[in-house]
Symmetry: C2
C-alpha cells in the first residue's frame, strides 16, 4: 500500500485483507519481522485491515531502517517474502 | 484491567505486558476467541501493550456479548483460560 510520512515523524500505512483471520496472520508475519529486526511498529488490527505506524523511538523520528522495514512489510504483503 | 464504557458506544481496555512478543501472543489468544465467537474487536498492538476496543457492529453499540467477551479476555490475561 501507500506509505505516508506523517508530521515528519512517522510512517503510516494500511493493509487490506478479506477477513479477520488474514489480517491476524499478517500481523504475525510483520510481528516476526519486528522481533528479528528488533524494530517494533504500532499495529492496529481490525476486521480485514492492518494499520501500521512506525518510527525510530531512539531518535523520536524517522531513520533509514523505518523505510527498509516498510519495504519489507510490502514484500510480505505481496507474498514475495 | 479496567474496562471502560466509552461514549455509551464501545468497551475499551489496555492490557500490559513485559515486551512485544508477549503482547503479540495475547493478540493471538484473543484473536482466536474472536474467531470462535465470531465477534471481532479492534486491537492495538504495541511494545508491551494491547489495547482493545469492542462493540457490536450490527447494533452500533454495546450488547451483552461484548461484556461476556471482555470477561473472557480478562480470564485469558489472568491465565485462567
Amino acid at each position: 500500500p501507500a506509505w505516508e510520512v506523517v508530521e515528519d515523524h512517522h510512517l503510516e500505512a494500511t493493509y487490506e485483507f478479506d477477513d479477520f483471520a488474514e489480517a491476524l496472520a499478517f500481523t504475525n508475519e510483520i510481528g516476526e519481522l519486528a522481533e528479528a529486526e528488533w524494530h517494533h511498529p504500532d499495529i492496529h488490527l481490525s476486521w480485514g485491515e492492518v494499520g501500521v505506524e512506525m518510527w525510530s523511538h531512539d531518535i523520536g523520528g524517522l531513520h533509514e531502517s523505518d523505510f527498509v522495514m516498510a519495504a519489507r512489510m510490502d514484500r510480505i504483503y505481496d507474498g514475495d517474502d
